[in-house]
Amino acid sequence: MLESFWILLLFPLAGAAVNGLCGKRLPHKLIGLIACGAVLASFLVAALAFVELTGRAADDRLVTVSLFTWIEAGEFVSRAAFLFDPLSAVMILIVTGVGFLIHVYSIGYMHGEDGYYRYFSYLNLFIFMMSLLVLGDNFLVMFVGWEGVGLCSYLLIGYYFKERFAGDAAKKAFVVNRVGDFAFLLGLFLIFREFGSITYLDAFQSVQSSYPGMETGFGILSLITLLLFIGATGKSAQTPLYVWLPDAMAGPTPVSALIHAATMVTAGVYMIARCSPLYSRAPETLLIVAVVGAATALLAALIAIGQRDIKKVLAYSTVSQLGYMFVACGVGAYAAGIFHLMTHAFFKALLFLGSGSVILAMHHQQNIFKMGGLKKYLPYTWGVMLVATLAIAGVPGLSGFFSKDEILWQAFSSPQGHPLIWALGVAVAGLTAFYMFRMLFLTFHGQERIEMGHHDDSHGEDDHSHHDAKPQEPGWSVRGPLGVLAVLSVLGGLVGLPAWLASTNQLHHFLEPSFHYQFVPEAHGEHSHALEMGLAGVTTLIGLMGIFVAYTAYLRRPHLPEQVSQRLSGLYRLIRQKFLVDEAYDAVIIRPTHWLSKNVLWKVFDDGVIDGAVNGTATVVQIWAQQLRKIQNGYVRSYATWILLGTALLFAYFSYFAA
């Protein structure tokens, strides 16, 4: 099974093709079955391959399969080849596993929507592209997946394409991603120029031989890694390119869960982990990665506090958590980043899906200030959401605690880390706990402010909804995946227990071979377990404080937030308006470019200068011709005169000058 792991790519592709081409004529049940079956098959293949991989010796855990030569031009060769190693194994399990759960969830969530087949076709295509991304054995195949998931994201964000905002959001996501891809491409070009190959293993080998140690100063390696990282900021929604992700919530909620929380947005983290041999040698870039990650985490957490839309809160929370993962990568703790990626995939998918079932129950009402007290109507959803919220808030014992704590510990102790980054991380942990519980309390607790959504008819689901009905728990296909994810959110942390709890961190151990080429300065020696435990305690404390503040502000004294916001109205408004980043981009980049293109380049330069010159030449010729044609005046005698003059001049020329 291990050697033919690549067949797992075929199932979702086939599913997408079948549903896309003839889904219109298929019954809905069959469509869902095909889509879920395809992903399940992929997951099973991945799991079998994974099991087989663990059976091998640690340094033998690497399989590559080359299907055909894709592009070949001189020394430049890119094969359609795939790589299965611990890193891609973990990733593919997350992708297909969580992906499968969300597919199942979608059957219930999307029930009765227009273009049901279209949705599942896109979703399967996404799984295929994401698999390409994580399984590719060279940068170009990864880039196919990288852009492919972007496309699926575009299609799925724009799923409700009748709404203007959906189209806007979809386009924005694609374009912002393209900005990142621009840098990513330049990074690829540079890799080929420097290392003569875009295959991971060859390129890394070449790096290892030419850079035995770290690069000093900002050199080529730093430039490559920086360019790749800019690509990652686009895909993984980091500063300054995070702006598309909150808007991307225009898509259906399962899509937000799958693409914009669990899998696609983590592609940047995967990419950095995959390129760890490059990043580990470029300390300058690592610093930038860590700082950008920390800054994004803080910024997004602050914005999340002021959001009123349940999905927007989660979106900014995702941006913030991704910041954590980049902090991990930035301090050289790739395994910790992947660990958090995994746990985050569980609890954030759970949160999104939970919010999805709230939204479904509320008939597409997404404003948390119009909910409240939902606990009694949706106890099951409340339960799983609570688990997830506790996990993300970093309450000890749950998955989020272990992964977040490991990142913070690494940020503190790793040679690339710095206490300042750690402090930022801890502050963000507090903020996270606060805004997540704010959301939870406002939604499920407190007084009822229920105001059902007026679901637009065009969404096509309203036939059987009753606006005055009480919110109801959704069906099994929605609740099933929620349960599984809740279990994973609780237990997911066990694969990566910290050193003060277990002798080996299993995930680290497993991922080790993937970072084989990494240049790792192991320097944990001087720090004791006691310090690690102590720091974890501090984080936990801060997190609990955040929960307490949220409890005070939104349950015990509901007027407090209003008072605070009045006291700090400037800051509050700034947070509410998301620091005006979108508006700034609009004013500084988009509008001037548009204005310049329209009024200067097109109207003035193209139509005026160039065409003006062309038409001007024609006009000048025409003016002269107008004058000259007067010679053709119709008088024979005048013509005779001209002929005579011409002949005379010719004779004169020949007898005086030519002779």
């Binding site: 044609r629 007067k630 053709q632 005046n633 119709g634 008088y635 024979v636 005698r637 005579l644």
Partner: protein
């Protein structure tokens, strides 16, 4: 024997007179006659050269010129008659339809 240059000078003078007539006169028939003067001037020159080069070809050319002149007179005069019929005038200044 009269030197060739004399004939050439005479030819040039006649040609100039003819061309002046073409410009000067408004009557289509007179213009036509002036053209005939120019043709004869040319003929004179051709014959003069023919004698000067001691070659008969110049004279042959003159014969051809005469034939063409005859044909031209036939067609040209026919056109003039037609013109007079259509426009009722022989004044070329009145006939300026073919202009910009």
């Amino acid at each position: 024997m009269v030197p060739t240059s004399h004939y050439l000078i005479l030819g040039a003078i006649l040609f100039a007179i003819g061309s002046f007539g073409v410009i000067f006169r408004r009557n289509a028939i007179t213009m036509f006659m002036c053209v005939e003067i120019m043709l004869n001037a040319v003929n004179l020159t051709l014959v003069a050269y023919s004698r000067s080069f001691n070659q008969v070809d110049g004279q042959i050319f003159v014969i051809f010129v005469m034939v063409v002149a005859a044909a031209e007179a036939a067609v040209g005069l026919a056109l003039i008659v037609l013109l007079n019929k259509r426009r009722g005038t022989l004044d070329v200044d009145q006939i300026d339809t073919m202009r910009w």
